[in-house]
Amino acid sequence: MAVISYRQALHDTLRAELRRDDDVVLLGEEIGVFEGSYKITAGLLAEFGPRRVRDTPICEEGFTGLAIGAAMLGLRPVVEIMTINFSLLAIDQIVNNAAKLRSMSGGQVSVPLVIRTPGGGGQQLSATHSQNLEVWYAHVPGLKVVAPATPADAKGLLAAAIRDDDPVIVIENLALYNTRGEVPDGEHVAEIGRAAVLKPGRDITIVGYSRSAVIALDVARRLEGEGIGAEVIDLRSLRPLDRETICASARRTGRAVVVEDDWLSYGVGAEVAATIAEGAFDYLDAPVRRVAAAEVPLPYAKPLELAALPDAGALIRVIRQTLDATRFAR
């Protein structure tokens, strides 16, 4: 196990998959000569050449759709969309073609496509460049959507996505690229569709994914010192969603809080809360609470941006409210 950054884990996985399978080809804006807006693809053009690592013009609909057609003929394109905000330019191709071609053809055509794209706010990039649009894609049958929180999962889920025969959207996170953690050496392929229990606990379940799972783990460790046993569930996969792991945890703890970077209404937390309501209602001691982004286009000014985004303080506050409401005794 080496300790490396999330960014390095993504880079190393792309490099390993390019070496492993000649059908893997990288496409995207500025991924080659410029080495990627966030340097995930640094050095790959030099090592693999323009046949395998292809700079595209700015045309998200064009190159994403092109990758879909290449995948239909058996290539395994890995598209980088510079940020998830720009994926809106490609959404017709993603939703109407990538997600549906297999089903509409009666299983005669597959689209083994990966779209890597970072979401997230907190970088003062303002409203058009700070969104968390993962539920737009997680809503659509035919797609798979994963959102790694750790460097180990960045490796394992990206490798799984590239080897999967379905279109997989890998949601990265601007705030996580420099985070570090242990990553298994050699082959490491995670299972898409399984949540992870990052930390066991008896008293309350905290559900997060991507950056919010990191916040959840940090908060859970802080609460441990107060004698509060928080169990942290990292969803890892938003579609399909591992409802069994979520509900099993909520049944054990009787309390649940979801922390999410997307907007509250119709968000990931809404789906998780509904799932817990159906699967663990009789075990609950309190309503499921959500800690989500304020429902505004994210402003530029730092104090406004900070006020809008979920953080550890907000999560701790909601956890305490939930515990107090159930007369939790430490």
Binding site: L73, D166, G279, F281
Partner: protein, 346 residues
């Protein structure tokens, strides 16, 4: 014409089959055997047959949602095409796609696409995959991508042409200009109504051909495909014909004047080609009549086949959504308990 008579008779046979099939499809729609949208190739038979005749077996074809004729000319079983229109288990797309989404990889028909222009980027990607694996040359396959006249106004058209020209991909884009985007004439939608000229922005050779002349269409498409496979030179063809009916079966086409309708009838490629072959001695009246009757019989048999095909079993509802099964995929019907939640009833 200097053409092999057997080839000409085959073109006429295919055109007559499409005419008979589409006429039957319209009838079956009015009898509620076919649901949803149903767009017909009536009036476009010469374009359809000419384009498909230019393709080799190893070439790929991406089409619009007005594509029954292309599937037939490419060799799909008429019964399976009609069964797809009927939404039956033996349909070309197993009843999942319907009229607008015909797929048959065995004949390299990679779809009917229901969103205007949605096929353009994937078709460009198929050409990219060809260059990824094969050198340019006569042995290389190529891609033909059809689009309607109105699709030349969307962003994906321009993005796809730019990528194809920039990366020198073996693809021929063919504008099937039937002169109407639903009810809107080309001149009311395109600032440059000579649509083939739009390729100039991408240094892509273009050409307009008479879409009612099956030979002219075939020859132009074949030359473009040869340049695509041999020199990686993409092209933009425009085949001008005229839609004989409304946009879809349910459209009475009231936006069309009586003069226009009369012009369309006069331009109808099927009787014109028939008369030409008889005049040139390729067919006599009796032989042409036999081809017509055979087309009618094939269309009627397609209807019988579709009628006899079973409806898809609702138990197969979740088949083909994912190629690689993943843990925790929800497969509930409306009202079912949520899978994995372990709720009541589980």
């Amino acid at each position: 014409m200097g053409e092999d008579p057997a080839t000409l008779r085959e073109y006429y046979r295919q055109m007559a089959l499409i005419r008979a099939f589409e006429t039957r499809a319209a009838e079956m729609y009015t009898r509620a055997k076919i649901g949803g949208y149903c767009h017909l190739n009536l009036g476009e038979e010469a374009t359809v047959v000419g384009l498909v005749a230019a393709l080799r077996a190893d070439d790929y074809l991406f089409t619009t949602y007005r594509e029954h004729g292309y599937a037939l000319a490419r060799g799909a079983e008429p019964g399976k095409v009609m069964a797809e229109l009927f939404g039956r288990a033996d349909g070309l797309s197993l009843g999942r796609g319907g009229s607008m989404h015909l797929f048959d990889p065995a004949i390299r028909l990679l779809g009917g696409y229901g969103i205007v222009g949605g096929q353009l980027p994937p078709a460009t990607g198929a050409a990219f995959a060809i260059t990824y694996r094969q050198q340019a040359g006569p042995a290389s396959p190529a891609v033909m991508c059809l689009l309607g006249d109105a699709a030349t106004n969307i962003g994906a058209f321009h993005e796809s042409l730019n990528l194809a020209a920039l990366w020198r991909l073996p693809i021929v884009f063919v504008i099937v200009n039937n002169q109407l985007g639903m009810g809107t004439p080309v001149e009311a939608a395109a600032a440059e109504p000579e649509l083939w000229k739009r390729g100039c922005s991408y240094r892509m050779p273009g050409q307009r051909v008479d879409g009612n002349d099956v030979i002219a269409v075939r020859d132009a498409a074949r030359a473009a495909l040869d340049a695509a496979r041999g020199e990686r030179q993409p092209a933009l063809l425009e085949a001008v014909s005229y839609r004989l009916r409304g946009h879809s079966v349910v459209d009475p086409a009231r936006y069309r004047s009586a003069e226009e309708a009369e012009r369309a009838r006069r331009a109808d490629p099927l009787p014109a080609f028939r008369a030409r072959l008889i005049a040139e001695g390729v067919l006599d009246e009796a032989a042409a009549g036999r081809i017509d009757a055979e087309a009618e019989r094939a269309a009627a048999e397609a209807v019988d086949y579709a009628d006899a095909s079973p409806a898809p079993d609702p138990g197969t509802l979740f088949d083909h959504v994912y190629a690689t099964p993943a843990a925790s995929v929800h497969r509930g019907l409306p009202g079912d308990p949520v899978a994995g939640a372990g709720g009541p009833g589980q």
